[in-house]
Amino acid sequence: MDTTLTRPAEAPQMRGFSREAVEALSRAKGEPDWALEARLAAWEIYDNTPLPTQRDEAWRRTSLRALKLDDVRPFGATRGLARSLDEIPAAVRAGLEEGGEGGRDLRASFEASGTTPRAGLLLQHNSSVLYHTLNEDVAAQGVIFTGLDEAVRDHPELVQRYFMTGAVPPTHDKFAALHGAFWSGGTFIYVPRNCAVELPLQSRVYADADAPAVFAHTLIVAEEGAEVVFIDEFVSPTGEGQGFSDGAVEIYTGQGAQVRYFSVQDWGRHVYHFNTQRVVAERDSTTRSLSILLGSKLTKSNVESALDGPGATSEMLGIYFGDGTQHFDQHTLQDHLKPNTTSDLLFKGVLRDRARQVFAGLIRVEPGAQKTDAYQANRNLLLSDKARVDSMPKLEIGANDVRCTHGATMGQVDRDQLFYLSSRGLERSEAERLIVEGFLDEIIQRIPLEEVRDRLHAAIQQKMGLPAREGDEG
């Protein structure tokens, strides 16, 4: 078996998406027939679905006219796995360590030891997983933490059962179908019954500024009574051309299981990013997710929870910070399918410059889903007159004994708050930073991982154009 990191095979020169490209990708990966067939089935759906236009309700405020799909390189060279971090080429390693805007030092989290211990770490460069490791004791309990390509080979029965079958099927929308046809790399996590993984698992995907399309997939299966925490990161520097990313996140939270999922998206400002994340929550399970959205040129994402068993709870948190001309369009769905289910959604964001945010949040209660308790809130802080927010909460309620609350707010920085803080000797920029951090604190304080909190503080600092700083006192 070739385990060293060889020179990548000659990168394909193909541009645009096609059936031939699907076949070429599957061949390059040496996939079994069933995997190719699933790709081709997804391709058929993609091919038969028109590209959304602003006439489609879900796309009314997001235009894809500038997106050149025919220019996208559908996949890149496949690489072998590195046996140790040292085998990763220095340039790639530097990107993985410091990727993203502003060159934040992420070394601490990269070293799966020291102040931020991890049960496992997976690193992906462009569309290939380079390296992964899992604590031996955790692995001995039957936990699987691996690249999805490898899972196709090593755990076909699990992949066939869960991969794009229930949570995010290719029929979800055109970009989910494209993802089903071209997915590459990604993380597979399986936690067996009653197994609690105490330390977090973490993946980081780093893409080059001129990377081919990235189709990252995250599949988490937590069996009955299992517990797991996962941090999913996506970073790239800003490039000249057009970047393209189309991801999917599928989370199966089994009966009584507990899953915490954190995602940080900090793509370069040239990237079009499409993503669908969906939780399928079984009876008495608890899922908590936090989506942190910082990067990309344009993001169109779906964050969904299907509450599919009585007693299931889903907390859905979101933080976003748009600057420049970034365009974020986030659709959320709290899908109450069974009675006695709870969902708690809070998306808070800050917009400066000419950034634009669209939020469309739907609480849907199926007939029979009595005693649903659903909360949804979207709050926005605008740091400039030119930033823009559209927030559209929506309810579809088919049961009569439910409690659903929703609301949206948006506002500028409060002038009296600014005056108060500056009268205490704080410069205007510092006063604004405090107000912004205060605004987001409601969510930040719900994050149990110090590293994620630090990452957010650093991102806020950088987004506000302030120099990096020493840690605050709590």
Binding site: L421, S423, L426, L434, G474
Partner: protein
Amino acid sequence: MPIEASPGGGTLRGESTLSTLEIKNLHAKIEDKEILRGVNLTINQGEVHAMMGVNGSGKSTLAYILMGHPAYEVTEGDILLDGESVLEMEPDERAHKGLFLAFQYPTAIPGVNVANFLRLSANAVQKARFQEANPDAEYKAPPVAEFRKRLVEKMGVLKMDRSFMARYLNEGFSGGEKKRMEILQMAMLEPKFAIMDETDSGLDIDALRIVAEGVNAQLGPGLGVLVITHYQRLLEYIKPQFVHVMINGRIVADGGPELAKELDVKGYDWVRAEFAPEEAPVAAETPALARASLGVKQSLTGRQ
């Protein structure tokens, strides 16, 4: 070489010459409404002045303008700190120079932790003062432990529980808690001149005593205070040497502590009729006195 900045490292109070805050013929408006119509007042470091006046007379406006609130426009006159106009200075710069405003209605800032804020604020002020005094030296913030010790000590004087430190700034604070937080900040920032806007309002007698003790503990040759109130009550605890009465955006009477007492007995209608009949709601026959003085006016202006 970096010089270690002690808590008092950026202090303004050790300077040998006394500072002066002069308000000269100050006119100001908000949204085309003229509110201050020629205020004159001089406060020296070490003096306690009281500003009295009914609601709406312009006391808070004066306080805000002294601190640089952007909503008000100064149309005439000047504010001088040691001869230097502060009108073009941002509020943070005024704070660095030694002005402090204890707000009548302190603003709540959700999500901003009290201890964190106090440290940022104290550091910002000390750093600016240190650099003013030592332009070529590098400022080094005092260690967190030292800051904490000083904070706990000041909180003790104001009988504030340590749990305050973990709360959000003024968020969900009772009226009394807010006022204590203001005085705590004043203690931490060590201003040369503090304007206290209705610090007594909303306080019960026990809280008033504690707050007044907190202020009195700070009084001394290094601090000039302008206590704004419309009741005599606070002045029994914080004793002013000078009392001024504002009516319709103008100071119409200056005096000593006895003016406050007389006002308490006779009421504002009496001041109006006595000193500013042109401002009276009912036309008065007495010829207008631009500004009257009761005894201590000489010492008030004597230092100018």
